[in-house]
């Protein structure tokens, strides 16, 4: 079954969506959209690093994404103006990554693979990496769920309950770096943040609790992947952007449906 490239592609998309559903919900609740952008754009720098040092791509992106996520969250904790700081970091990371990758011989042709993903070329090894990463993210979030929610609501409240908000922020930082490394092959560096934000935003209007929002977001993510994949095959469009387009259409439908239901 795994010999069929379509099955592998679909499974890759499902694996990613299981992780981006709950993590994306936190990104939305904590208003970390730009944070996701900065971290995922840094992945291109990670690709350049991996190619130059002959490391696996996944390792390179994971390391650089982790470094970027840690940098951003340290600056946030020190009270930097996040809007500007993240804007600077997100775009410089992307620019430096693109410049760095041009020094690596023979990659120019593949560049769009890293920018927009290449879900139809997911190998069995890729699939293993994607699912291991996704399950790790789900396990991490599940383990810290109550504490993460409390710290997201109010840091003082978390402190007074004996929790450490800084540690919970670190959990999210780690999870984000993992998701970036996992998602690079599927939607590409430019659109990873879209997979975090759009399904979660679509889920908001339908959910009454944080848990149901995370579940809806995961479901919408899975649906986006399958629809986008189908579309990409049928119309020969790039897979990553097709998946994100599908997510955007689902968002629009959910918004209309939510409005109708509220009357």
């Amino acid at each position: 079954m795994l010999d069929d490239f379509l099955v592998r592609a679909a499974l890759a998309g499902v694996g990613l969506a299981l992780a981006t559903g709950p993590l994306g919900s936190f990104v939305v609740w904590r208003r970390m959209a730009y944070f996701g952008d900065a971290t995922s754009h840094a992945a291109i720098l990670g690709v350049a690093l991996a190619l130059a040092l002959h490391l696996p791509i996944g390792v390179g992106t994971l390391l650089v994404a982790l470094a970027m996520a840690t940098l951003v969250s340290t600056l946030a904790a020190r009270g930097w103006a996040m809007d500007t700081t993240l804007g600077v970091l997100a775009h410089s990371a992307l620019a430096f990554g693109l410049v760095a990758i041009s020094y690596v011989p023979g990659v120019r042709a593949d560049l769009s693979t890293y920018l927009f993903g290449d879900i139809l070329a997911v190998s069995k090894a890729d699939l293993g990496f994607i699912w291991a990463g996704a399950l790790l993210v789900v396990a991490l979030l599940g383990w810290r769920w109550q504490a993460l929610l409390t710290a997201t609501l109010n840091e003082d409240l978390a402190h007074a309950s004996g929790l450490n908000p800084d540690r919970e922020r670190l959990v999210l930082t780690l999870a984000l770096a993992l998701v970036v490394a996992v998602a690079l092959k599927i939607v590409g560096a430019l659109l990873i943040a879209a997979m975090l934000i759009i399904p979660a935003a679509a889920a908001r209007g339908l959910a009454r609790t944080p848990e149901s929002m995370a579940a809806y977001a995961a479901g919408f993510g899975v649906l986006s992947c399958l629809v986008g994949l189908r579309w990409s095959l049928w119309q020969d469009t790039p897979a990553g952007p097709s998946i994100v387009s599908a997510a955007a259409v689902i968002f629009a439908l959910a918004a209309v449906f939510g409005r109708m239901r509220r009357g």
């Binding site: 939305v28 609740w29 904590r30 208003r31 109550q146 504490a147 929610l149 409390t150 997201t152 609501l153 109010n154 003082d156 409240l157 978390a158 402190h159 007074a160 309950s161 929790l163 935003a201 908001r204 959910a207 009454r208 609790t209 944080p210 848990e211 149901s212 929002m213």
Partner: protein
Amino acid sequence: MSLLSAQGVTVQFGGEPVLSDVSLAIEPGEIVTILGPNGSGKSTLLRALLGILPLSAGRVTRAPGLRLGYVPQKLSIDRSMPMTVRRFLSLPVRVGDADASAALARVGLPGVEARQMVGLSGGQFQRVLLARALLARPQLLILDEPTQGLDQPGEAGFYRLIDEVRRETGAAVLMVSHDLHVVMAASDRVICLNGHICCQGSPVVVSNAPEYRALFGLGSQGALALYQHSHDHSHEPDLVDAFGRAPSDPHHGHNHA
């Protein structure tokens, strides 16, 4: 022993002392209010006592195994986060349905479990925060300006609720406030703060202290005189309706000195 005590607590922000050499102790069952003008370090003191802020000097001691309930000054739930009242009560410790509905009934909001937190009025929101704090069965309740944004009847109703809770559960209460008259009516002890402790004692003693008068001026004396009353009276339970509205005459049932 004291539930919570501070010895020589000093807190600095960027080298500037915000609190210097603050010592205090909270005994079981008493209501203590920290009073001070804006920027006097009231919230800083509470956060230092809770262990949120690092101390530059001094120390805070808790009774072993102390159960704390905390109501923060301002909790704004982002509209992007769906959160029912019921779910909120289970953060961070999950509680049973029976306990949750009992806590809501206690604060005068029975049956609101399914409502969204962002859909509550200011007064209802504060009551839900209080219900959540009560679920920890606290020996000490800490409230940071719990009535900010409430109108006066709502404020009076909330303080009355605190007083009832204290009577029922025996929990000590430590709160921060800036509104003089309600505080004077609701506290056993007042600590007057302005970077350091200016004076402390019973409301009557503090309101006559020269340090207090220097801090708040004499203009408030009229209002204070009106609100001073003895504490050994009983509140009629029907004084507050389900939405925290007090009757038109807030003095009904009080014996004024």
